[in-house]
Symmetry: C2
Subunit: 329 residues, 2 copies
């Protein structure tokens, strides 16, 4: 299997990108094509032991910054993100991975010079996040591809999310919920109420409306919402977790005995951090495009890049794209 | 000042309701009119030392349960919530407080048999929550009154929220943000982009779009959104905070040394709990109705009831209703 990695993606590009690629090539025995500035990537690769690993470099003379407008995808045709996408488009790679600008990555897949395009019949692709919950993991989608949605889009998000949960997350009969502002049928804005009706008569294992509280509780395997609400929910969750850890630190620092206690409890906090660490989940898949596209966090470290590549591998092995194609047909 | 308390509001009615009323009457020197089953309230009041306090009882033969449909407000005209609202409507009380069914309380204020109605010119009332942040408190609205909104509603929510932040939260020139899925102007669904344009040319101290992460960070004094997204955000926040504390407990329990450490650190955790405790914030005000209406959490304890009454008192003293009336005019 060949994974095309935008090696100029992360905030600390290309350091964690290259290290993560080396780790993934070794761990999973696959080829990781590093796309970016050839000289930089060569000198970065030289820092690692790459004996026996397949890590070819494909040169891309430019890259797209985190704060650049998504239109950069169209003006910078030779950006690493576009070149990596081209490898997938031309079947020289099985999947695309980046830790770069999320909006630009989505644009590269949907509307860039080397776009993969949508799977036939899919109205709108959706970006996903895998969220750690009290009992496991939940797939939340859309988290930012579509600020405005129609009921049919939400229905398709549910179908795509269920396919992914089944094939990649290994859930036999994924429980699907629709995010709303109340449990009961009939709660929510018009678009949600209409989506409820579509989901209710679908073959999916639709178990009703989720409320905000159901996301951390892990009440469902897949929770469907529009890209506006999903984006607010995911950014709120990440920020709140950090704020709470900060609160705890503040309160501990005020108390000498608590400081001693916290030192003893540190392994427990480390375990918590790893449980919440976005690096463990690698990246979110952009479902609905005609190819495997994984978009990780800009703050990704090498482990996060390695895990994003693992997610790509699992999506390829799970034939997620074909499953969605069959689901629409 | 006279506060009409739906004493049959909370999950554990009327125990915390009555105790909170006693605490508030003593702390703030005001009259709390207890509305509910006269016999129950009398025997509950008898458990407390009420010498020198003014705690009249107004009988209401029925009440509305937490899981009842909001239409119960119309069929149960003599429910405690309706009778308490009538006292405000008939100027026998200055404010209404309940820890009961949120939907029913809003319906009682807006469409019940003793409705207060909207302030002239206000399109839609909005329910608020005061959220503890990394740096203080933020007022979030709407958190559930309006699942579908128009740009003009969001604009009015901002105006009402700013008036409340100024008069009740004591913020001189409240910073107002609009919740969206990106910082930049032009991000978000159409309704948000249009509301942005309205806010930008308003006299409010509008500082731009907020993202989900800005809620816990406390980037603004007032964050405005629709009642769907706000409801998801508030329920997600409460649940995530609980889930994280549960995660920490799980990880500590696995480790004997960590258990010892946690015992030493306990006062710090207790302080955290009090910092996050919804009881500290009492209840949210329903802005835009022609009277002061405070709706607390069903799980309110006596301290939460006391604080909800304090919020009512502050809203009356701050002339919030008049300020909004003047703002619309």
């Amino acid at each position: 299997m060949r994974i095309a990695l935008d090696a100029m993606g992360s905030d600390a590009r290309p350091v964690p990108d290259v290290e993560g690629a080396v780790m993934a090539a070794r761990a999973y025995g696959l080829t990781v094509v590093l796309v970016g500035d050839e000289n930089k990537l060569k000198s970065e690769l030289a820092k690692h032991d790459t004996r026996g690993l397949d890590l070819p470099i494909v040169h891309a003379p430019s890259d797209i910054g985190m704060t650049e407008h998504v239109d950069a995808v169209k003006t910078k045709k030779d950006a690493s993100m576009n070149i990596a996408m081209r490898l997938v488009r031309e079947k020289q790679a099985d999947a695309f991975v980046t830790a770069g600008n999320t909006g630009a990555a989505m644009a590269a897949a949907i509307a860039g010079p080397y776009l993969l395009g949508r799977i036939k019949g899919i109205k709108r692709p959706a970006l996903t996040a895998t969220i750690p919950t009290a009992v496991g993991r939940t797939l939340l989608l859309d988290i930012g591809a579509n600020a405005d949605v129609k009921p049919e889009y939400l229905y398709q998000f549910a179908m795509m999310g269920a396919a992914y949960a089944q094939k990649v997350m290994g859930v036999a009969n994924p429980r699907v919920m629709l995010l709303s502002n109340g449990e009961e049928e009939g709660k929510g804005p018009l678009v949600v109420r209409e989506a409820y009706a579509l989901l209710k008569k679908s073959p999916l294992n639709f178990i009703g409306n989720a409320e905000g509280r159901d996301i951390p509780k892990g009440s469902a395997d897949v929770i469907v919402t529009d890209g506006f609400t999903g984006n607010v929910a995911i950014k709120l969750s990440e920020s709140l977790a950090r704020t709470l850890v900060g609160f705890i630190r503040d309160e501990i620092k005020k108390r000498p005995l608590a400081v001693a206690g916290a030192a003893l409890a540190k392994p427990a906090f480390d375990a918590l951090r790893s449980r919440l660490d976005p690096a463990e989940y690698g990246g979110g898949i952009l479902l609905g495009v005609d190819g495997v596209v994984i978009i990780g966090h800009g703050s990704s470290n090498a482990v996060a890049i390695k895990n994003a590549i693992r997610v790509a591998k699992e999506a390829v092995e799970g034939n997620v794209v074909e499953l969605i194609r069959a689901g629409v047909a």
